[in-house]
């Protein structure tokens, strides 16, 4: 390991160190309010390192810097996700301030675990071998498990144990899949897997070999759990409902982004040779996830559960992009799939965070997560209600919002890749989702409030709300710049 290797790893290292600093500060400081500030300001260190790395990339001929014995890669793809994860962490920390002040102890651990998990996500997007991928995945998940159980009441504990057991099971399945891949190719490096697969595939068998057939399905199952795709979604509703709401918000966007980062990298780079086979698999999962998520969401009365099913449906929309592979696109054209996924992830992040932040602020006062408790919020909390309504419009995919542009990119990518049937499923599902999304807006504006007391929001969460709402609007009107960056980021996947 050289100094340069450490530099390549510096964003993750500084983020994990920040987590430890926050935990240590918690022990010495009396005023706990400082911890959130330290967490947000401290993010400037990994941010600075990431920006510096991005700058250095322009000097590299193939657009990437590989380090630490080929287990880590710094390219625009991994940096894109680093920026995204840091942004999400900053916003979630800001929105947690009020919520966390109710915890009498372990506030430092709350922020610290969140930062550890974020360092795992950043690492996940940057690993190029399956072992590091597995360890980074666990680094992402285990702190989140502890955070899900952090409230120490019975629902939160239930969420924790459920999350832990099901995620451990999915990890075991993922590992078995990785093992079969390792057994078949004799290596864990994605690039080497790609090279060796090219030499040893049998065209008469789906996925080129029986071992890969089973191995890839198991890997998809393992990753499918992290992104909450049907049929690996059984943990989602209970964990989302029981976990502290800021953690739910974090889980729904950051964990999903990291999951898609590693899916794109593993499948596009490692299994590029058999892309037609796994793309079909993702297309089917996508259709099933959209449909199941939206249909079950209709029946929900708890808004966190409703958003849990909505997140399953959005995992389905995102998988449309994964399925829109280059091999299905007519020669001479490029696929919008992966860059569309990146755009959609950012759009979904700002949208879902805005929705969750408004919900946190409202239910902090009403003490209830039921949709019925949002009655009359249009009058009691006009600012929060309008942002929540705007976020919902974006989740639904109506212009001029980020969500609309995201879906547009997804569906046009699918059209290019000859997946018209998937577009039809997607559009029908968007229509179905209008039913339960609009119900929330109706309750907020058309139903009389239970009380007249106004709801006030502290400064930090308010700032987070403004930033996310602005993000929804900006991405909805000017999607161009982000799309350009996303296209640059995914260039490393097509070599």
């Amino acid at each position: 390991m050289t100094l340069h290797d450490l530099y390549l790893l510096s964003p993750e290292l500084s983020l994990a160190s920040l987590g430890m600093v926050v935990i240590i500060l918690d022990m010495v400081l009396r005023r706990k309010g400082v911890l959130a500030a330290v967490s947000v300001v401290g993010l400037l260190a990994p941010l600075a390192f990431s920006i510096s790395l991005w700058g250095d990339l322009s000097g590299e001929p193939d657009g990437q810097m590989v380090g630490i014995f080929n287990t880590l890669v710094v390219d625009k793809f991994s940096l894109f996700f680093k920026f995204l994860v840091m942004g999400i962490v900053a916003l979630v920390v800001m929105s947690s301030v009020e919520y966390v002040s109710r915890l009498r102890q372990f506030q430092g651990e709350y922020y610290g675990l969140m930062l550890f998990s974020a360092s795992g996500m950043m690492l996940l997007a940057a690993t190029t071998d399956l072992i590091s991928t597995y360890v980074a995945l666990e680094l992402t998940t285990l702190p989140l498990v502890a955070l899900a159980a952090f409230l120490r009441d019975s629902r939160s504990t239930e969420a924790g144990i459920k999350f832990l057991l099901l995620s451990a099971m999915s990890s075991a399945v993922l590992l078995y899949g990785m093992t079969l891949t390792y057994g078949f190719t004799g290596t864990t490096q994605l690039v080497e897997i790609f090279e060796r697969l090219g030499a040893s595939l049998d065209a008469t068998v789906p996925f080129g070999s029986h071992a890969l057939f089973l191995g890839v399905i198991m890997i998809v199952a393992g990753f499918g759990f992290k992104i909450a795709a049907v049929p690996f979604q059984m943990w989602v509703p209970d964990v989302y409902e029981g976990a502290p709401t800021p953690i739910t918000a974090y889980l729904s966007v950051a964990s999903k982004a990291a999951g898609f980062a590693i899916i794109l990298r593993v499948f596009y780079i490692g299994f590029g040779e058999i892309s037609l086979d796994w793309a079909a698999l993702f297309a089917v999962l996508s259709a099933v996830s959209m449909t199941v998520g939206n249909l079950v969401a209709i029946a929900q009365k708890n808004i966190k559960r409703m958003l849990a099913y909505s997140t399953i449906a959005h995992a389905g929309f995102l998988m449309v992009g994964v399925a829109s592979i280059a091999a299905r696109v007519p020669v001479g054209e490029t696929t919008l799939g992966p860059s569309g996924v990146l755009f959609y992830l950012v759009a979904y992040a700002v949208t879902n965070l805005a929705a969750f932040f408004a919900i946190i602020a409202i239910s902090n006062r009403t003490g209830s997560d039921m949709i019925s408790s949002f009655a009359g919020m249009g009058r009691r909390a006009p600012f929060l209600a309008i942002i929540l309504a705007f976020a919902i419009v974006s989740l639904l995919g109506i212009p001029p919002t980020a969500g609309f542009m995201g879906k547009l990119y997804m569906f046009s990518a699918a059209m290019k890749s000859d997946l018209a049937w998937l577009v039809v499923v997607g559009v029908v599902n968007s229509a179905i989702s209008a039913y339960y999304y609009l119900k929330v807006i109706r309750v907020m504006y058309m139903v009389d409030p239970e009380g007249e007391e106004k709801i006030h929001v502290a400064y930090a969460p308010q700032a987070a709300l403004y930033i996310t709402a602005l993000g929804i609007l900006a991405l909805g009107i000017f999607p161009g710049p982000l799309m350009t960056v996303a296209e640059k980021a995914v260039a490393v996947l097509f070599r």
């Binding site: 880590l72 651990e109 550890f116 980074a136 120490r152 070999s209």
Partner: protein, 187 residues
């Protein structure tokens, strides 16, 4: 039959039997003890496969640490284990796990693992199960130099996951502490 083959078959039989006992046993304490036996048998399998360092790790970590932790937790929550130990998913679970067994066995038999030959990797002569098996080859090398090889791999090629694993352990410890410690002022 060679002594090594007999060792394999005995261990495989005991391993599968104890594993079955773990999932079928009604008394959770006895299930945990069966699991310990299963761990030990797997350690034996590791020795057969020329992975004596891993066998030691298996004994130390699984048999020594994880089992103790689990048994400790079972003792603490002892009176919580009553009633029917199975849930209502018994039949689907049986079907699914049988299908999984069939699928993996099918894959193991039908995949041409010999592909490594063409890839220029070193394949042991026993791979096709003819002249002498890898196990025999392995036994000759028992207590050879795998420990050094593993150490080099861990501290060099796979130093990144090793560092990440240390953060995983730290995060798990912090999370576990934050969860089990009682709040001040709480009973």
């Amino acid at each position: 039959m060679l002594p090594l083959d007999i060792a394999f078959w005995v261990m495989a039989a005991v391993g599968v039997a104890t594993a079955l006992a773990v999932v079928m046993e009604k008394d959770i304490f006895r299930a945990a003890l069966f699991l310990v036996v299963s761990f030990l048998v797997v350690a034996g399998i590791f020795v057969l496969l020329n992975a004596e360092f891993l066998a030691m790790v298996q004994v130390l970590v699984y048999v020594g640490a994880i089992s103790i932790l689990i048994i400790f937790a079972i003792m603490l929550t002892r009176n919580a284990h009553e009633g029917n130990p199975f849930n209502s998913f018994q039949l689907p679970a049986l079907v699914l796990s049988t299908m999984m067994l069939a699928a993996i066995a099918f894959v193991a038999v039908n995949t041409e693992w010999h592909d490594w030959d063409q890839l220029g990797l070193q394949v042991l002569p026993g791979d096709s199960g003819e002249v002498f098996s890898a196990t025999e080859q392995g036994i000759k090398n028992v207590f050879g130099n795998t420990t050094q090889v593993i150490a080099r791999l861990l501290m060099r090629d796979f130093v990144l996951p090793m560092e990440a694993a240390s953060v995983v352990l730290l995060a798990a410890v912090i999370g576990a502490l934050a969860l089990v410690r009682e709040n001040e002022g709480e009973a």
